[in-house]
C-alpha cells in the first residue's frame, strides 16, 4: 500500500479474488469516513482513498486502511456468495408467501 500522506493513500486488489460488486458495496459503507475512488488496472483494481475531516478514524489508522478495508470486503464477498447460493430458494419462498393472495377468480377468462 502507498501512503501519500497522513490522510490518503492507495492499494491494489486482485480482480481474481474480489468482484467489483463486493468492492463497491464496501466502498459505500466507508462513505462516512473516506473519499474512495476505484480504477480498473489490468488484473487489479486500484483503490485510492482520502480520510474525511469528519471521519471517526484517526490519521494513524490510515496506514492500516487496506487491512480494515479487506476485512469488510471479505464479508461482502461472503454476502455475495450467500445471495447467489440462496437466490432460487429465496424466490420460491417469496412466491409461496404471496401465491395464496393472488386472485384466482380470473383463471380461464383471459
Amino acid at each position: 500500500m502507498n501512503i501519500a500522506s497522513d490522510t490518503s493513500g492507495d492499494f491494489y486488489l486482485d480482480k481474481s479474488l474480489y468482484s467489483l460488486t463486493s468492492i463497491q458495496s464496501t466502498i459505500y459503507k466507508f462513505a462516512a469516513d473516506f473519499f474512495i475512488e476505484i480504477n480498473d488496472s489490468d488484473k487489479t483494481y486500484l483503490i485510492s482513498f482520502k480520510l474525511k475531516s469528519e471521519s471517526k478514524y484517526a490519521s494513524d489508522e490510515v496506514s492500516e486502511f487496506k487491512n480494515i478495508f479487506v476485512e469488510k470486503l471479505l464479508d461482502e464477498v461472503l454476502r455475495e456468495r450467500i445471495r447467489a447460493e440462496t437466490a432460487d430458494i429465496r424466490q420460491l419462498i417469496i412466491a409461496t408467501t404471496f401465491s395464496s393472495l393472488v386472485d384466482k377468480s380470473n383463471d380461464g377468462h383471459s
Binding site: 458495496s25 462516512a32 461482502e76 454476502r79 419462498i93 417469496i94 409461496t96
Partner: protein
C-alpha cells in the same frame, strides 16, 4: 520429548470435509463486538452464534450433532433435504410478518389547529400563535376527513388530535368524537381517541368529556422543572407546574392509564437522564420513551437538531437504559419504550404499530395526517416537512377520493423506492427485518427518499440500539430477563 497422553492435537480429516447434508436458506448477518455474529432471516427469526460456528456454518462444516446446528435448523437458516417444509414454514412466517400491510391505515392524525400557547425552540410543526381562521380545521373539513377514516380497511382505528395545541380548538375535537361515534354505529370498528396536548387548557368540562368518550391524553414532559421550562417556554414560565397539576388531576379522575407522556431530548438534557427518569417515576409513569430530536420545523430553524451528535444521544440512551434496568432489579418496573419495541420485534412474530420501524415505510399506510388546512400528509413528519416548505408528501385533500389519495404517486413512489429490501446497505444488514425505511427523515436530512445510509442519522441511531439490545438479550443474566419481559408490551 514431552508426550501428551490421550490428547488429540489435530481433528481427523473428516472434520474438514464439507457437510453435504445441509443447504443454506437466505439470511443476513451482522458482526457484533464480542466475537459473535447476529444472523436473521426473511421472517425476522434470529440468533447469535460464535464467529467460529458462523464460519463453519457458511463453509458447510457445521456438525449436524451440534447445538448450533439444531438452533439454525429450527430457526430456518439451513435445511437438510429436498423437503418443501422449510419453504412452506418460512413463507407462512413471512406472510404473518407482512400481515399489517393488508390491514392498512390504523392511525389517523387530525391536526385540528396549528395555534399553540407554547413557543418551544424544537417545535417540529412550526406552531402559529395568531389568526384562528387561518390555522384551525373547520367542521366541513373534519367531516370529510372522518368519512375517509372509515373507508380504511383496518378494523382498529385510532384518531389522534395533534396541534399546535389541539385543546385550543376543542369544539372540533368534540365534533369529530361525536360524529365519529355516530358513523361507527354503522362501521363497527374498534375506535379509540387520543389527544396529544400540553394540558394547559384542561378543565373539568374537558375531563368529563374525555371520561364520557374514553379518550386518552398524551402530553410532553421533558424532565424536571428546570429542563422542561427551558425547553418549553410559555407565558408565565409555569409549563411544568401546569402540566404536572393536570396530569395528577387526570390520573385521579380518569385513572393512571389514561394519561401518558413523551420526552424530547435537547442538548441541555444529555447529562441528566437519571433526573429525567426519576421525574417520570415521580409523576407515576412506568414507561418512558428516550427520544432524540427530529430534524423538522423549529428544531432545524433554531439549530436545536444540530446541537448534539447521534453518538452523544446514544450515550444518553445507553446510560438511561442501564439506569432503568437497575431500577427494575430493585423492583421498580419502569420500561423504556423504544427498547420494548425492539425486543418485541426480535423475540416475537407480532408486529408493532410504530410507523418509523416499518418497511415498506408506515407513511400513509400505517398512519396518515389530516392537516388543519384540509390537506392530507403521509405522516406526522411529512406535515412537519410541509411547514418547512417541502410539500412532496402531500397526498391530496380531505375532499378527494379515497382511492386517489392512497394510490397517489407521491405515496406509492416514496414507499416503493425506500423499501429497505432493495436499498443499498439495508438489503445486506443483519437488522433488515427489524428496522424500517423512513423516506421522510431522509428527505429532511439528505433531500433524498432513500438517503445514503452510511451517513444516515436514522441508520446510525438504530444500528447502535440494535447492537446494544441484542448484546444485552444474549447475556445469561437478570438484565436479559428484564428485557425479555418487555416483549409483552
Amino acid at each position: 520429548m514431552m508426550v501428551i497422553a490421550n490428547t488429540k492435537l489435530f481433528s481427523s480429516q473428516e472434520a474438514f470435509a464439507s457437510n453435504d447434508s445441509y443447504k443454506l436458506l437466505p439470511f443476513n448477518f451482522h458482526r457484533l463486538n464480542n466475537s459473535k455474529v447476529f444472523i436473521s432471516n426473511i421472517a425476522g427469526e434470529n440468533t447469535v452464534i460464535s464467529e467460529k460456528d458462523f464460519k463453519n456454518f457458511c463453509d458447510m462444516h457445521l456438525e449436524s450433532s451440534s447445538e448450533t446446528f439444531k438452533t439454525l435448523k429450527s430457526k430456518h437458516f439451513l435445511y437438510e433435504s429436498d423437503s418443501s417444509l422449510p419453504v412452506e414454514l418460512l413463507a407462512l412466517k413471512f406472510r404473518t410478518k407482512m400481515k399489517p400491510l393488508s390491514e392498512f391505515t390504523g392511525l389517523h392524525i387530525f391536526v385540528n389547529t396549528l395555534r399553540c400557547d407554547y413557543t418551544c425552540s424544537y417545535c417540529q410543526v412550526s406552531r402559529q400563535t395568531e389568526d384562528k381562521d387561518l390555522f384551525d380545521m373547520t367542521e366541513e373539513q373534519a367531516l370529510a376527513a372522518l368519512k375517509l377514516v372509515f373507508q380504511s380497511p383496518n378494523q382498529n382505528i385510532k384518531i389522534e388530535f395533534q396541534g399546535g395545541e389541539p385543546l385550543l380548538n376543542f369544539d372540533i375535537i368534540k365534533y369529530v368524537v361525536i360524529e365519529g361515534e355516530r358513523l361507527n354505529q354503522t362501521h363497527q370498528k374498534n375506535l379509540q381517541f387520543v389527544i396529544a396536548t400540553n394540558l394547559s387548557f384542561v378543565d373539568e368540562a374537558i375531563i368529563d368529556f374525555c371520561s364520557s368518550h374514553d379518550i386518552y391524553l398524551s402530553t410532553s414532559i421533558d424532565g424536571p422543572a428546570d429542563i422542561h421550562n427551558k425547553n418549553r417556554p410559555r407565558p408565565g414560565k409555569n409549563g411544568h407546574e401546569l402540566t404536572k397539576k393536570s396530569i395528577i388531576k387526570i390520573q385521579e379522575q380518569l385513572g393512571n392509564d389514561r394519561v401518558s407522556a413523551l420526552l424530547t431530548t435537547t442538548a441541555g438534557a444529555l447529562t441528566r437522564v437519571e433526573d429525567i427518569i426519576d421525574e417520570y417515576l415521580d409523576l407515576g409513569f412506568m414507561n418512558i420513551f428516550l427520544r432524540p430530536l427530529s430534524p423538522y420545523g423549529f428544531a432545524i430553524k433554531t439549530k436545536s437538531f444540530s446541537k448534539y451528535k447521534a453518538s452523544e444521544w446514544f450515550e444518553f440512551y445507553e446510560k438511561g437504559l442501564d439506569y432503568i434496568i437497575k431500577l427494575n432489579k430493585n423492583g421498580v418496573h419502569i420500561r423504556e419504550q423504544y427498547a420494548s419495541l425492539i425486543v418485541r420485534k426480535l423475540l416475537s412474530p407480532f408486529p408493532t404499530k410504530y410507523v418509523d420501524l416499518q418497511s415498506p415505510a408506515g407513511a400513509g399506510i400505517g398512519a396518515v395526517v389530516y392537516n388543519y388546512d384540509g390537506k392530507i400528509y403521509a405522516s406526522d413528519e411529512a406535515r412537519m416537512l410541509k411547514e418547512m416548505g417541502d410539500d412532496s408528501f402531500c397526498l391530496g385533500t380531505v375532499f378527494d377520493d379515497y382511492n386517489d389519495i392512497f394510490t397517489s404517486d407521491n405515496l406509492i413512489n416514496a414507499l416503493d423506492v425506500s423499501e429497505a429490501h432493495s436499498v443499498p446497505m439495508c438489503r445486506d444488514c443483519g437488522f433488515l427485518e427489524h428496522c424500517g425505511a423512513d423516506p421522510v427523515y431522509h428527505v429532511a436530512t439528505q433531500k433524498d427518499l432513500v438517503g445514503h445510509k452510511a451517513v444516515s442519522g436514522f441508520c446510525a441511531k438504530n444500528m447502535s440500539i440494535f447492537e446494544l439490545i441484542v448484546g444485552k438479550l444474549n447475556e445469561d443474566n437478570e438484565e436479559s430477563m428484564i428485557l425479555k419481559n418487555w416483549a409483552r408490551y
